[in-house]
Symmetry: C2
């Protein structure tokens, strides 16, 4: 079928790229660093959006939309944030093209249409949003302000990979404003919990919640919290971040509120985001050498039905028999595809739907019709069973739940197995090179040590886990005292 992908063992990176393309999830565009999200990939992203959006609304947030462009002077107002993103910004400098006087039919930038002030294509929206919040917030009665935005952002990355790192990507960014630090911190943590719940319950990807080190935090934040997942090649992937911004943006944009006592105070802020990068995590956490394995909660198609027939007459009989089953499954909210194409053989279809990660495949032929049975195949375990046709519509929903759980549990035991505690730097390097995964080790808390370790091993501190227990030890690198272990890994 020309859809074979290399095995993970052979070349994990190539396996990923080919899988993304062959399963019709995304492809590189002719625009440097930008991807095209294809319909099948986009339908998974739509399911993610829908579930996340509901979780945001259930926690009191509303959606809004702020401009794509940020004037340079506004962008630079919060200096740390500006410095953090300045090196990867797309800049609009002109607002018109004109005919090229030297080449008919060609256009050139019109030098007369140069902007007085350049516009930055948003790499993140704190600046534009806080400059707006200044107008919206006067008193404590205007707070908390709990707003989310679904948008595209641009970060000019030099090395790009589909979904994982692209110049333009889709995301949501929450931006909230509060009267107290405590309330803002509680919001930051609440949204981290929302992300973790989404990753685990929908994506079936277990994650570790933690706080970033100073060196890895968001530019302009006081604290950055994150969720970290483990991919099958032993590399970590940051799947979402939630930032406590303190009063940094409120001060940069002069956003103050009058308290009950009339006193003016700067507002406390948070921001939090997940992006189409989640697609990369979803793909790499579960899939195998035959293609995608999708958790049912995010699968665009839950059940594919492949009829086995030699002629139109057989297809007609199968169709008559299967239609009520399809109807009964759809009634239960399931998405069902009946693949009755006569241009492809069943084997081809099986491979195609395996590649696309459809959780359950049903196959039914003339013999089944006689017996009143159907073959049920699970994508996650590849187990097959013969089921009575009249039980299908009752049993499939439960099977889908089982698959969702199984995918999660499999990823969980893999991840747990990929957490190694080490106490020396030699051991640390050995684990990274031979096994990979997360390494729990003591660290002296300095950026210097963090930098040295990163330089020598390419491993970074993924996070200081929120559930890390106090434990006296000494830094694997400097030998200095440490009070808890932090989580290292090589990462995407």
């Amino acid at each position: 079928m020309g859809k074979e992908i290399p095995s993970r063992q052979e070349d994990y990176s190539l396996w990923y790229n080919e899988l993304v393309k062959k399963a019709d999830l995304a492809e590189h565009s002719d625009v440097r660093g930008c991807m095209v999200i294809k319909p099948y990939g986009y339908s998974i992203w739509e399911k993610m959006k829908q579930a996340l959006d509901k979780m945001f609304k259930d926690t009191g947030h509303v959606n809004a939309y702020f401009p794509l462009f940020v004037p340079k002077s506004m962008f630079e107002a919060e200096e740390q944030n500006a410095e953090g993103f300045a090196k990867e910004c797309a800049i609009v400098t002109h607002y018109r093209l004109k005919n090229d006087p030297e080449k008919k039919g060609k256009l050139i930038v019109d030098p007369a249409a140069k902007l007085e002030e350049e516009l930055v294509v948003r790499p993140t929206s704190e600046a534009i949003i806080w400059s707006t919040y200044k107008k919206w917030i006067q008193s404590y009665r205007d707070l908390p302000l709990l707003i989310n935005q679904w948008a595209n952002v641009v970060r000019w990355e030099m090395r790009t990979r589909l979904f994982l790192r692209t110049a333009e990507f889709l995301w949501q960014e929450g931006h909230t404003a509060h009267t107290t630090a405590a309330e803002a911190i509680a919001e930051t943590k609440q949204m981290l919990d929302v992300y973790a719940a989404f990753a685990e319950q929908y994506m079936a990807v277990p994650v570790i919640k933690g706080k970033k080190s100073e060196g890895e935090k968001f530019p302009g934040a006081i604290d950055t919290y994150c969720i970290e997942g483990m991919m099958q090649d032993g590399k970590a992937l940051q799947a979402g971040t939630s930032h406590f911004l303190g009063q940094n943006f409120a001060k940069a944009f002069d956003v103050q509120y009058a308290g009950k006592d009339g006193k003016l105070e700067y507002v406390w802020g948070t921001s939090w985001g997940v992006s189409t990068r989640l697609m990369g995590a979803l793909i790499m956490a579960h899939s195998d050498d035959d293609g995608l394995i999708l958790p049912p909660k995010l699968a665009p198609i839950h059940v594919v039905i492949v009829p086995i027939f030699r002629n139109d007459d057989e297809l007609t009989k199968i169709t008559e028999k299967i239609n009520p089953v399809i109807e009964a499954l759809r009634q239960q909210g399931l998405s069902v595809k009946f693949d009755s194409r006569d241009t492809h053989k069943p084997g081809f279809k099986f491979a195609e739907w395996e590649l696309k990660g459809v959780p359950v495949r049903l196959a039914i032929g003339p013999r089944d019709l006689e017996n009143g049975t159907i073959e049920v195949a699970r994508r996650d375990t590849r187990e097959k069973q013969v089921m009575n046709l009249d039980q299908v519509s009752h049993q499939i929903p439960a099977l889908l739940n089982t698959i969702q759980e199984n995918i999660y549990n499999r990823a969980l035991s893999f991840r747990d197995n990929m957490i190694t505690r080490v106490d020396t730097f030699d051991e640390f390097k050995k684990v990274l090179d031979e096994k990979g995964g997360f390494v729990l080790a003591h660290w002296d808390g300095t950026s210097e040590t963090e930098g040295q370790i990163k330089e020598q091993t390419k491993a970074t501190i993924r996070c200081i886990p929120l559930d890390a227990s106090e434990e006296n030890g000494s830094c694997i690198y400097s030998g200095k005292p440490s009070a808890k272990r932090v989580l290292f890994a090589r990462a995407y």
Copy 2:
């Protein structure tokens, strides 16, 4: 309450601007020509999106996402399209900022990070999409390709108005590819019908379907179809367009398919879009001097309940009584707001929810508790009635349907009344100046006459109505023969 808006009579344009701002729909941002869509406004847009998205999917379309940026050489490939948008394009020329050596904490564009080829921020996506379709389409089996995209686009407008004309706006753009002209034309018309059904059934805005004249069609299209609505000030508003692109983009991007006979043919295309401009149409078609009037199908809040109380005890009693009613309404899928704030008086609340266009307001006080009644007020007619409390949850859904219909019928009779047939140019000018609205008149079919009429009267040909009957007449301007009347109006 400081929320008064000027009357429509006084200053229609100011009424609109103030209404958009005071009802918390949108506001101007500090970025030239770009708006901020505020949460209340965005929630109406979300409802529009949801309904449209379902209609697109029900007609076989899928969503995808294509890059924001279009390289200049790709942009200019379809010459008419490029020429049509060249004068209003935001252009990215650089990909990095750096510290200003002369001003600490300030940034400047890094001249070393100049792009080899400039990028156009998409004003519309035909170019980027057709350059992608070239890779996706080889054979007739790959067709039709029925794809939609929800995205932001940028057109550098010099004079902007909230929702109606902004530099950046949100929209959807469908881009389809077909084997035959007939199929593409059928798709173009189908989507026009979808837009008309959405405008009429959801927005309660009656529209006239028609074809644009040569002078008004989309750059790069063979034919542009549109729906035209009538606003309360007698100006027309184009609410959606659907384009038959012929083989123009297929030829520009060399998109050919092999037919069943193996022969290569250029693909036939369509594109169609509606944008946040629909918000402007929705607001201007129905609202009055006290604020928005929203059709229930797009109202973020269907029912607001205002308790009338003097003390906590009364509020408690009302709350106990009303909670089951709220629950029963929500069970039926309605969005209900119980406005129990003790910081504002009922009169203030009434005015606020009228401003925001909530279709039904319930008010309940101590006397009602005794009588087992509640006051029901309609936003559209301002009629009030007293209803038995135990009937509310049964009657409100029907009342909302009645309101939806009434708003549509009112707009329809207004619109019908605003269509005038004229046979002379004097009459034409008189109607435009004294009455406004649509004018049905004979036109000789030439761009020259169209241009003259526009120059002298500011009226444009909105469309050649699809249902226009054959009728011999003579052009109101040139006196030349004409076979049917076309629809003129001054327009947004």
